[in-house]
């Protein structure tokens, strides 16, 4: 089982990278980091999903919550390096439009 890890590199443009299994157990930690990112970001918070090995409906829900929170603040969340399996899950769950294609970064 891949451990869920969040990295928040230093830099002008706020971003974070998540890796491992993005499930119910990871939601709280992710929301805390992502909402913090939104607070600090001028306009865009970039979330790198490149190393995510698995995401379930709770993980998808967390992404949706962050996106809605961004809209409420007039900001934007951009998902980058979305793995094909995650991208496929967006399709199946009707979320592709909400998150954009995302795979390009």
């Amino acid at each position: 089982m891949a451990e869920f890890v969040i990295e928040t590199p230093a830099g002008a443009r706020r971003s974070l990278a998540v890796s491992g299994e993005f499930d119910l157990a990871a939601v709280e930690e992710f929301l805390s980091a992502a909402l913090g990112c939104l607070e600090d970001a001028a306009d865009v918070c970039e979330i790198d999903l490149g190393a995510v090995t698995f995401i379930d409906s709770s993980g998808l829900g967390a992404l949706v919550r962050v996106r809605k929170a961004a809209h409420d603040r007039g900001k934007e969340v951009v998902l980058t390096n979305v793995p094909p399996a995650v991208s496929r899950l967006f399709e199946v769950t009707g979320l592709t439009e909400a998150f954009g294609t995302g795979s390009g970064g």
Binding site: S57, G61, K68, R88, T93
Partner: protein, 520 residues
């Protein structure tokens, strides 16, 4: 498996007591070995002292013989008397001493000092005793009893001169002797026997009541040469010889061990009972959640013409928290029916609450005559993940039992599988976002089932595995359904669940199958 507190307590007690007894026994054994060793050392010292004492017995006899040898064949009775008077009398070495001269086989007493000896001239025992002395290179010893008196008789003879000396030392009637506190015997009870055996008949002296002999408990013995025989010294300690701690250690270990075992046993009992209580509570909580969950699922299916309905809900394997999967099917007018399979993200009572709300909201719109797409569109405005923390995926459909026509709309849910007699295929839907994402519009998909076709709707717990993407799981379901030889919706549901569900699966599963048995 909850362990019984009593079993744990008893197990700890048994192990603790065994260890306690073993360590106490070992400490006791060490102490006994030490005690035995110390006793043997002291006994050997006492034996040495005894040897020295024997020299004191022998010395006057040897000296007297030497004097007679110098005196010539007639002897010197006055020299003998002078010499032995110093050794004979009350509180001295001997009670009596006699000088004998051998004439062939006869033994003649030519001088005597002190009390009348028990060995009298002319007695056969006296003669044989003296003859024995002439045949021996050392002095000889014999216990003599006459009437109530007991004595130890000593004899030493010089075959070259024909002179022999005998002396007698009385033994107290009770055979007891006091022990000097500073002597080697100070810490010992002892019994001295004449000869190699510690028989009551051979007892010479002892410091305990003769009736209490032989000495019991820890004993040691040593043998000391005594003329033509030996003295056997048997001892036992008057008190503990080693360090006091060594003696008390077994008891200390025993008491300490028993107390500790009692404490550990009690603690084990409490801990196990506490744990058992927690496990019971945990089980009750989970049981309650699951009952709530099941209460929200249909208890029976409506009777719909031409439609064979089957459904199954399987709870996740672990944890108190239950999932928010559900299914529902209701009859509408004109032979139509509506169905829903949904899944609320997350777990626990909150998820089940959202599930209940979604289920009854969707059902209300459907009963009110709205299409599946319109129903989802209206619902999308009533759920918000920002407020309740959950996403809800749902597959909503309305079917016509007379024609086999089915219209579905999809809010982020896995597409249903059509299982025909000649093959399987997933219904191609256009999924809109899950409920909770925000206001959305949904597309309808309409298809017509052929007779004997089953529409299999399910939640992702049936196909999702952490190590693979969703399509792999979907394909496994398709293969499983295609390979099944089933003749009812119930059999298909059971086959799919039992084949695809692993015992350790964490997610819940809801499956709803509708087999259309109509004809066109």
């Amino acid at each position: 498996m909850p362990r019984r507190p009593l079993v744990v307590a008893v197990s700890i007690a048994v192990v603790g007591l065994v260890l306690t007894v073993a360590s106490s026994w070992a400490a006791g054994r060490v102490d006994r070995n030490t005690e035995q060793r110390l006793l043997q050392v002291q006994t050997d010292q006492a034996g040495t002292v005894l040897s020295t004492a024997i020299l004191l017995v022998q010395q006057p006899l040897s000296t007297a013989l030497s004097v007679e040898k110098v005196a010539g064949p007639m002897g010197d009775t006055s020299a003998f008397t002078n010499l032995m008077s110093a050794q004979v009398g009350a509180g001295k070495m001997f009670e009596s001493a006699s000088l004998w001269q051998r004439h062939g086989h006869r033994m003649k007493r030519i001088a005597q000092v002190g009390d009348a000896p028990l060995m009298r001239p002319g007695d056969k025992t006296t003669v044989s005793f003296l003859q024995h002395a002439f045949g021996s290179k050392t002095f000889i010893v014999r216990a003599v009893t006459h009437d109530a008196h007991s004595s130890i008789a000593y004899a030493q003879a010089d075959a070259s001169t024909g002179f022999a000396i005998t002396a007698e030392r009385s033994v107290p009637a009770n055979r007891r002797a006091r022990v000097d506190n500073n002597s080697a015997f100070a810490q010992l009870n002892y019994a001295i026997y004449i000869g190699p055996k510690a028989d009551a008949a051979a007892l010479s002296t002892t410091d305990v009541a003769p009736s209490s002999l032989p000495l019991a408990g820890t004993t040691a013995r040593t043998k000391v040469p005594f003329g033509d025989t030996v003295l056997t010294l048997v001892t036992s300690p008057r008190e503990h010889l080693g360090a006091p701690l060594s003696q008390r250690l077994p008891l200390i270990l025993l008491i300490g061990g028993v107390l500790f075992t009692a404490f550990a046993s009690g603690a084990g009992y409490q801990l196990t009972r506490g744990r058992q209580a927690v496990e019971t509570l945990y089980g009750e909580q989970r049981d309650l959640s699951e009952r709530l969950q099941r209460a929200l699922l249909p208890q029976s299916h409506p009777a719909i013409p031409n439609l064979d309905i089957a459904a199954e809900y399987v709870a996740g394997a672990q944890g108190v928290d239950i999932g928010g999967d559900w299914y529902s099917i209701v009859g509408l007018d004109d032979g139509r029916y509506a169905f829903v399979v949904g899944d609320v993200s997350g777990r626990g009572i909150d998820a089940v609450t959202v599930m209940a709300r979604a289920r009854f909201t969707i059902r209300a719109y459907l009963l009110d005559g709205h299409s599946p797409a319109a129903t989802l569109g209206k619902c999308s405005r009533q759920f918000d993940i920002s407020e309740d923390g959950h996403l809800t995926t749902a597959l909503v459909g309305v079917g016509d039992s007379r024609t086999g026509e089915v219209t579905i709309a999809n809010a982020g849910h896995p597409a249903p599988l059509l299982v025909r007699r000649d093959g399987v295929e997933f219904v191609t839907t256009t999924p809109g976002p899950p409920l909770g994402t925000g206001a959305a519009t949904y597309a309808s998909t309409t298809f017509t089932m052929t007779p004997g076709t089953t529409l299999l709707c399910f939640t992702d717990g049936l196909v999702e595995r952490r190590t693979e993407d969703i399509d792999t799981g979907m394909q496994r379901l398709a293969t499983t359904a295609a390979g099944a030889t089933v003749s009812s919706a119930d059999e298909l549901v059971h086959h799919a669940v039992s084949t695809l569900r692993t015992d350790d699966a964490r997610d819940d599963v809801a499956v709803l199958a509708m087999r259309w048995a109509g004809a066109r």
